[in-house]
């Protein structure tokens, strides 16, 4: 059973993504948005990173199944 780097990558991105998206949802949208040109970048990018983290974790599981 070898170490799969996708596991820590998936975990880290999932946590960072949720933190950012959470901040984008509950944080004061005013200063967040004005700085980022009218986009709630914390929410948008947090969601992207969350999805990426989940994909990485999914690939880790898939890799485990394939390995004898």
């Amino acid at each position: 059973m070898s170490f799969d780097i996708r596991l820590p990558i998936g975990l880290l991105f999932l946590v960072i993504g949720l933190l950012l998206a959470g901040l984008g949802l509950i944080g004061d949208p005013g200063p967040l948005k004005t700085q980022a040109l009218g986009v709630n970048i914390d929410l948008v990018w947090g969601a992207v990173l969350t999805v990426f983290g989940l994909i990485m974790l999914g690939l880790t599981r898939l890799g485990r199944h394939r390995e004898p």
Binding site: F3, I16, L19, A36, L37, D42
Partner: protein
């Protein structure tokens, strides 16, 4: 700009994960092969991403943004001409000999193919070079963190002087890198480089997106900056008609051939990542996978510079000298890129025409501070930190391997147990990092000395590709030929540099220290031509000396030279994964990018 709790949390999470990966890797590091070569067990895609990351240090992220702001999209030549073809070449043609020879380092290949003196020359210069480049990188990072003022508040709270930010930045990053390489060796470095790769992309991609929104997309950038900034080949026929001040021949031969192949095909920092691969096929795919991704990096690291420059027009138009001091305090409100401040006088630096000089190195970092709100700011800073650490780790792992196998084992203690060399490797990691810190402080005191050292290494590096090329593809090349060729190539570089000068410079560290025989339109043109002269000299002298010295015994060269190595049979796996097919796809991609942005 102050950091929020979330920003701190993201930075802390990153450090935690990096150390954890080092710890996990350490449990599988029991022998020298584990520590120095990651047990030759890493899959191709992991090696490929590490291959990119190890090269993606401070100089690249900050420097390419700076060049983007200064020269424009033409900086992409450093990728599309200056990296991709060489990466394909090393994967398709050279990797069979690096990986197949079972050499543990690039200098060791030179010993197997040529002789001890050629290896010694390469090993010593390379070891010293890695120390200095990781030192310079550390210095640049600490300086940047200080300039960004993001840590001013916490340091004030703790009652520490602001100057300690510089020391803390160096110490913390050095300690983290030390811990994960000391524990996990090359495996720890490579796994972390993959994590760092994704973080760098995650931190810079949204910056490009927001920046492009602000300037009105690529079309907006084209209208606000003009064609000289957005084309890569227009005006390349003559040095006077392009922003780099070089001609197409100098560009293609100097950058695209000598410098690029010299770096990507022989620099052990890079090659080591592929040598860690789990099979010959993986080792050959490593640079190809890296190249397939690398060709899109101009959009990630050069574009922020262009965007920052497009959003900075005020300081250039402001009247120089008399109002210079006022402009120096104001640029934060006016544009992204501030005016450079002369550290000696504290006044804005002016060029020969009396115009204020912009501090291009701050283009990308300032764009990040300007457009990232709390949260994203933490991610952006983490990305910067990740790039510094990956670049430094690349140098440190290359150093500890070359030190242990090519210097310690070759000249200090020949016969010792594997455990002993593993111990020495860990010790070399600590000593190497301590020396890098010393180099970083040296850089902070004597800027000119660092310029000089980098220059000397440019001389040493320029000819070395000729040595590897002849070694791998000409069985008649001899050890004496290789060594004398290398020395003559280095001397030719120094001589060319001493006889030429870039336009507008004074004789000295910029060149012309013997006699000014020729003036180049730009420093870059001078660099490219120094490389061309140096490489050609090494190539010709190696051939000439080889022909008059005794030919090497062909029996000893199997697996080291192309014509004496049995061809690899039909490769296992699907044909579309074969190195030649992948290489062709990557080259076509680079060609298309060159045409689109011509």
């Amino acid at each position: 700009m102050a950091l929020g709790t979330i920003d701190w949390a993201i930075l802390a999470l990153y450090l935690l994960f990096v150390l954890a990966i080092g710890w996990v890797s350490s449990r599988r590091t029991k022998s020298g092969t584990d520590f120095f070569l990651a047990g030759r067990s890493i899959p191709a895609w992991v090696c490929g991403l590490a291959f990119i990351s190890a090269n993606l240090g401070a100089q690249e992220v900050i420097g390419m943004g700076a060049s983007g702001a200064k020269y424009g999209m033409v900086t992409a030549h450093f990728y599309w001409i200056g990296a991709i073809p060489a990466m394909v070449f090393v994967g398709v043609f050279m990797m069979p000999f690096y990986y197949g020879s079972k050499a543990r380092s690039a200098p060791e290949y030179l010993r197997m193919r040529f002789d001890e003196k050629t290896r010694g020359f390469n090993a010593f210069t390379f070891a010293i070079m890695t120390i200095f480049s990781s030192g310079i990188s550390m210095y640049a990072m600490a300086k940047l963190i200080q300039t960004l003022h993001v840590f001013d508040q916490p340091f004030q709270h703790m009652g520490l002087p602001q100057s300690w930010i510089f020391h803390a930045a160096i110490l913390v990053s050095a300690l983290v890198v030390l811990v994960y390489i000391y524990m996990g060796g090359l495996r720890g470095a490579i796994y972390n480089e993959v994590l760092q790769f994704f973080l760098i992309v995650a931190g810079f991609a949204p910056l490009v997106w927001l920046g492009l929104r602000q300037v009105g997309g690529w079309e907006g950038l084209k209208t606000s900056l003009g064609p000289t900034y957005t084309h890569v080949w227009a005006g390349m026929a003559h040095p006077a008609t392009n922003r780099l001040g070089v001609d197409a021949f100098g560009l293609v031969m100097g950058l695209g051939f000598v410098l690029s192949f010299g770096y990507w095909c022989t620099d052990f920092l890079i090659v080591q990542r592929a040598m860690a691969a789990d099979s010959m096929l993986s080792a050959r795919r490593t640079p190809l996978i890296a190249a397939a991704i690398k060709m899109f990096f101009p959009f990630l690291v050069i574009l922020p510079g262009l965007i920052a420059f497009a959003l900075t027009s005020a300081p250039i138009k402001s009247p120089p000298s008399t109002h210079g001091v006022a402009a120096a305090h104001a640029p934060a409100e006016q544009g992204i890129i501030p005016v450079k401040i002369d550290s000696a006088t504290g006044k804005p630096a002016l060029d020969s025409k009396g115009q204020p000089v912009l501090d291009y190195d701050l283009a990308t970092p300032n764009l990040l501070l300007r457009y990232f709100p709390t949260g994203m700011l933490g991610l952006g800073l983490t990305a910067l930190l990740a790039s510094f650490m990956s670049g430094m780790a690349g140098n440190v792992t290359a150093f500890n391997t070359v030190w242990t196998y090519d210097i310690y084992q070759a000249y200090i203690r020949r016969e010792a147990s594997d455990a002993h060399y593993l111990h020495i490797g860990r010790l070399a990691t600590a000593v190497g990092i301590a020396l890098s810190i010393g180099a970083a402080y040296l850089a902070s005191r004597f800027n000119n000395i660092m310029d000089l050292i980098q220059l000397v290494f440019a001389f040493v590096n320029a000819p070395v590709f000729a040595t590897f090329l002849l070694g791998m593809f000409w069985k008649r090349a001899t050890g004496h030929g290789a060594f004398i060729g290398l020395v003559c190539g280095t001397l030719a570089a120094a001589l060319h540099h001493g006889l030429t000068l870039p336009d507008g410079s004074v004789a000295g560290v910029k060149g012309g220290w013997i006699l000014v025989q020729h003036i180049y339109p730009s420093e870059m043109a001078q660099n490219f031509w120094t490389a061309i002269w140096s490489w050609s000299t090494c190539f010709v002298v190696t051939i000439a000396v080889s022909l008059v010295t005794r030919a090497p015994d062909p029996a000893g060269l199997t697996g080291l030279v192309y014509s004496l190595t049995p061809k690899v049979g039909p490769e296992a796996g699907r044909w579309w994964f074969s190195p030649i097919f992948l290489g062709a796809v990557v080259l076509t991609g680079a060609l298309v990018l060159n045409i689109v942005f011509r």
